[in-house]
Every structure is written in C-alpha cells, then in structure tokens.
C-alpha cells in the first residue's frame, strides 16, 4: 500500500523517487497521467499527493490539485515545479490550494523534503483493512480485466453500430 501519490510526467523522476522512497521503506504510488491519478486517489486515498505543475490531461497542476483538495480536504498536497518562479510559488501557497510548493531547481533539497513528507504521511496513514482489500482488488482486477474490458468495449461498439 502507499500513503503517498506522485503525479509527474517525467518517468525518470517517478522511478527515482519511488526507488528512493523504497530504499527507506516508504511506499509511493506514481503515475504520469491525470485521469489515472484521480482513479488512484479514489482507490488508495493517500494522505499525501505530490504533483507536477504541468501534466498531460489537465491544464496544469493547480487545477488538478484543487480538484483533489475538493474531493478530500484533509489530504496534504504538494506542488513541485520546474517552471514556476519563486513569486509564483509563494502565490500558489497563498491560494491555500496546496500546503507546500517545492521547486525542481534544487533537486537534492527537494528530494529530501519530499522523502520527509512521504515519511510523515506513512506515519499518519491509517488505512483500514477494507481499504487495503479494495485497493488490492483494484490493482489485480485492473491487470486481469484489461483485456476483458477491451473485448467487451469492442463488442458493445459493434452492437451499437449493428455490425456482426
């Protein structure tokens, strides 16, 4: 299970941060896609969401984070960005949408700060066994059912178009 969710379109960063978290015995779920991020959020209900500013599928990270925040106000949200300047970072914090904004401009410091955030999230994570069961079912089911889903989808399309 994971207490934290990282949403970033950079695969290298996702892999590295996940490995760094695992090195320290921390769980981190990652994705580069906005829609999948929402699904993972619903299933795992992480305490912490870390998101890049620019994400495929959403206009930008702020909008995504605002939506997540509206779904569950208690979640701690961190924005990381390689493009937002210092003034904008402060502005984003002032908006109250996010708890913290970190710049990718200082990679080591930001990594350490994120690991610390993930550690804290892990400590406070109190997922119920039911939640874990549902989450596990989602992961397994998704892996198994993907082909079946495609098949069903194709069949329904054929049916709608009156094709054999």
């Amino acid at each position: 299970m994971a207490s934290a969710l990282l949403i970033d379109d950079d695969e290298d960063l996702r892999t590295s941060l996940e490995a760094a978290a695992n090195d320290e015995g921390l769980g981190l779920r990652t994705t580069g896609d906005w829609n999948e991020a929402l699904a993972l959020f619903h299933v795992f209900s992480p305490n912490l969401v870390i998101a890049d500013y620019n994400l495929p599928g959403s206009e930008h990270g702020l909008r995504l984070l605002a939506e997540i925040k509206s779904l569950r106000p208690s979640v701690r949200v961190i924005l990381i960005s390689g493009v937002v300047d210092a003034a904008q970072l402060r502005q984003a914090e002032d908006l109250g949408v996010v708890e913290r904004v970190l710049s990718k401009g200082d990679a080591v410091a930001t990594t350490k700060a994120l690991l610390e955030e993930i550690r804290r999230a892990e400590e406070t994570f109190s997922a119920s066994s039911d939640w874990q069961a549902v989450a596990q079912a989602y992961v397994q089911g998704r892996a198994v059912d993907q082909g079946a889903f495609e098949e069903l989808d194709a069949a329904l399309r054929r049916q709608a178009e009156n094709r054999p």
Binding site: L13, S16, A19, G82, V83, D85, V108
Partner: protein, 704 residues
Amino acid sequence: MTVATGTRTVHASGDRSNADTLSFEPSARLQRYLGRELIADPNLAVVEFVKNGYDAGASRVWIRFELTRSPTQLRIADDGTGMDLEGFRKNWMRPGFSAKSPDAPRGVVDRPPNNDAGRRQRARTQVGEKGLGRLSAGRLGKAVDVFTRKSPADKWLHVHINWSDFDDMTKAMSDVHIPYDFVDVVPDLDVQLDRGTVVQITELDVDWARRLPGRPAFGRSRTRLGRLKQDLDLMLRPLDLADTDFTIDLQSDSIPEDGLLGAITPQTAAQTADYVMDFEFGTDRQGRPQVKRTLHRSAEIARQFGSSRSQSFKPERLDAPSSKSPSARPDELACRPFSGKFLYNPPPPGQRAKADTFVAHGVLLYRDGVIVEPYGLDENDWVGVEARKAQRQGHDLVQPATFWGEVHINRADNPALVDMANRQGLLENEASLEFISHVRAEFDFFERQVTAELEQRWEKPEETAAKTARTQLSAVTLMSRSFAHNIRQPLMAMGTQLVRLESVASRSDLPPDAKDRLTEIHDSLTRYLDRAQRLVAGYAETPEPKFEETRVAELLASVEAEVEPVALAAGVDVQFVGARSSQPILMPRELVRAALGELILNAIEADRPDGRTALVRVKQQQDARDLVVEVEDNGSGIPGVAPGTPLSDVHVASTKGRQAEGIVNVAQVVAYSRGTVRVLRSDFEGTAILLRVPGRIGGLESGE
C-alpha cells in the same frame, strides 16, 4: 429631345431616313470630338498606336519624332500584319468597330496570315478593343498619312486624312471624302519594312521637346517626350516578361533632356525597393475568397529593424475579415482573381529626396500585361494614397511620391472589368467598384505593416536598438524558460539519485574505503549538479529588464560570488582587479549582472593551449559615470576578430555549445542597457572584451 433635334438638323443636310424610322447620321465634327476629346493625353494617343502594332503581331515598333523640321512630324511604324484596302475600309474607316473585340462577328474578322507577324498575332492577347485608337491620330497633329500592306508583293495602300476636313459640323461624317492611292515606298524610317503599317502625323499639335508648364511631378520627366519614354517603359515592362519579341524603338531629332534613356524605370526601381508586398486575390480550396500576401524587405531595412527579408502572411479570408484588415472592404470577390504588388522606398528621414529617387507613377493597372490608362499615371490616385495623405494632414508615413505598384487583371479571369470607351478607366459597375475597394484595402494593409516599422525611424538609434533587444530578450526569456523546464526534469531525477547515493554512502555497514569513495563520487556529482542547476536557474529565472540604481561595487561582488565556484571547479584563476566604485548608476541591474557573469564564464571556458595556466582578469576601469569593465582571458583567441568589433558581430563556434548563445544574450542585454560591448583584442595570447554600460540615460527614471 436633344437627340431628335440633332437628328433633324443633320437630316436637313440630306434626307436618308425612311418615312417611319430615324437614324443617326453623325456630324463630321464627331470625329474631332472622338479624337481630341476622348483621347485626353497625347502620350496615350501614341501608346494607342503602339498597342495597335502589338495587336497586329509586330516584333518592333519604330517611333520617330522630327521636331526640328517644318512641319513637324511623327512617324509610328510597325512590322505587323498590315492591311489591304478591304481590311482598312472595314476596320480603320469604321469608328467604334474593332475586329479585335470578342463581339466581332465571325467572318468579318480576317484570319491572321501565315507569316511571323500572323503567328505572333495569334499568340498574343489583343490589347486594344474599342476601335478608337486610330482616332487618336487626330489628337496628335493636323493630318495623318497611313501606309499599310499585307505582303511585300503588294503596293502600299496610302490614305491621307486631313482632320480639318471634319471641322464643318453641318457636314455628315460620311460626306468627308478620304483620298487614297497605292505607292511603292513609305516615308524614310532607316529600316526596310516589308509589310506592316506606317502612320505619319504632320504638324504636331504639341511641342514634344518643350518643358511642361506647371509644378514638376516627382519622377516624371519635365518634357512630354521624356514622359512618353517613361510611359512606353511602363507599358513594355510586363510585356518583356510575357513576350520578349516586341521592342519599341524611340528616336527623335531633338533630345530635350540629357540622360533621357536610362532614367528611372520600374525594373530598376523594383530591384532597389525597400518594401515590396505581393498580394494575390483568389479562393481557397473550399472556394472561399481570400487574399495571400508576402512582404519583402531590402537587406538594409531588414537589418535596421531586425525584421525578416521575406514575410508571408497567413491567407486572409475576405468573408471573415481579421483584425489585420479592420478597414471596410468587400467580403466577396465578384471581380474575380487578380494579383499585384506595392513597392515603397521611404525617403531618408529629415531630408527631401532628390527627384531621381522618386518613381514615375502610382499604382498601375495592367490587363493581360498591357497598361490600362489612366490608373496610376500622372495625377491619377485610384488607390487613394494622396487622399489619405491629405486626410492625415501630412502625418503620413507612406509618402505617395515614393510609393508605386502594379495590379494585374486579365480578360479571361476578370470579364466584368471592362474599359470605358474613352480609355479613361474601367466601366463603373459592381465588380470594378469592388475591385478598387480591394486594392485600397490592400494599400491600407501594406501601409500599416510599413508604418509599424518606420515609426521606429523617428526614434534615436539607441532607443531602436534597446527596443529590438527588449523584444529579443522577451523571446529568449520564453524559450529559456521552456528549455529550463525540460532540463530540470532529468536534473531532478539526478538529484533524487544523489540522495539515494548519499543514503547508501552513510550506511554504517560499508567498509571505510567504499564509504569514502561513494562520498567522493557523491560530492563530485553534487558539485556538477549544483553548477548545472545554477545555469538552468539563470535561464529559467531570466531577470526582469528593470532599471535600478546600482552600486558597481555591489554588482561586482555579486558577480564574483556567482562565478567563484565555477572557477574553482574548472581550475581557473579568476582575478577581480581595479577600484570598485561605490557610485550608484542607473542600469538594468539583474540583466547586467547576468551579462557580466556570462562574459566571465565564457572567459573561464575559453580554449587554451596545452600547458597554459588558465587565468581570467576582470578589471573595473575608472569612470565616474559609467560601468566600464574589461574581461580578459589568456585563451587561444577568437580567430578573425579585429579590435573594436562589437560582440554582436562575433561568431564564436565553440565546442562547448553554450558560449555562442551566451554571447548573443550578452549583446542583447548590453544593447537593451544602451551600452556597448566590444572586443579590445583577440589573439593567440588571449581575448579582452570591454563592457560599457552608461550610468545616465536621458528620459529614463529608476524603476522604469
């Protein structure tokens, strides 16, 4: 009533009508009106004869003025198909009839003969149509003799017309008897003419060699003969492109102007025009009307304003006007496709251009490659350039005297655009009004494009440079931020890996040697990461071009702190020498700091011969007003750079890649700061670059 009365008057001189009908019986004087009144300009009358020669398949037209003899004479000869008596009777002697007209009934029009002239005639689009050109002879002189034949085997048909015979208004036109005979020779032309037509006009009505009265028209010759030469040049210009087998040979026994030949022609003018805009009206693939435009600039204009030499605009749909054409214009193209170009040479600011820098005409209209009068000729302002100038009370930027152009239509594509019978313009109809509106809207578009650039001419050169630099800096800022974002992604991942490495290196179960080695690797990589991140930060957080009071000492200390770790990592000794002034000066502090840093970083990274200890010296020169800093390295020098060369002109082909970009940035920053940055020297012993940023800038205040 007037008509009926007139008819009755003529009727009295001879009863030719039936009992129950009336018919016009034109007075002989009508001939005078047609020739003298409808062909308003003698130049155009000559051009009409040239057109006739062209239509007759001539390869050459000779124009000979004999102005010193008495009576004066003009001979216009062509080697076209010529006419026999029957052809002359059907065509020449029937005003208003034109065998060239598409309306001419079959059978009436003679087939072109099977010779060179006939083949040329078939290949050409006929340029005359109304059958009025022949009457223009009456505009030129007292009498005309026409010599014509179709074959060398024939004698020349000679027709003599004395125009005074038509002065009697009580006489019907048909009552004026025109004598003719057949002769063996034609008037002397210095050429052997086998066939064709010679028109000899005697007792010329105007003095072609005399200077024209009134205010001189810019670009127009002061004499009528000079203007005729210009008009013929204009007429021939497109023909030269479409049909090279046609030449006009103009000669005169009196040459009123020196350098008449080789005066300004559209060709030479077009080659040197500062602005040329081509436009093409047509339809897109969906059949919607549109206009496509391309603006070309001379090298000098492009350089001066930092513009591109050729700029293609996105096709503009006429049925969906864009903001680029806010002026009212038709949203249809009933006049059908046409094209054209505008040319403009802005006169130097603050100086009246000499007459020979002006062009001879406005926007000319060509149909099938032949000029349509009177558009753009003399005072004709059909595009409304002069009118706009008057409206703006002299605040125009496109000055009519140096603006010209051409618009091309043709009979096949633009059937609705037809001439008035008097050769004085297009017949006014919906299509022609729309056509003119489109051309005027194009001028409006052209003027706005040109004006936007030329307004900068009134600025001081340093202000123009600063504005250009600011625009370029803005573009650089956007690009830099984009690149910085992309580069930060892998750097972030690298930082994360370094955290992992740090974690591993700190494990207590590792052997001390391994631990030290990992720590060393970690520290080394961290230094490189720091350096990379600082560089990226420089691009990502490009400072605002904001002028601030700045103390030079603080600025240099800031730069020194920035470059120090880089110098240490690269093993280069960077020395800051000279007095550090505490005098505050006004400058875009962050930009200058970045530029100076960039210069020093370039000096640090300069290629050096093997064995040479790397050294960079940053020296502030004494100057009470300005920031003056010399950056000197002991590298191998920049090949081919002379002392005094502005840094913006220095091409640095660095293997490190970033140097060239950095130098571009420095040049832009300094230009924006109204400063200079030049190479003091560059040789095998090293390179010295002098940066000067002025401390006081007129009209600027801190915080602008």
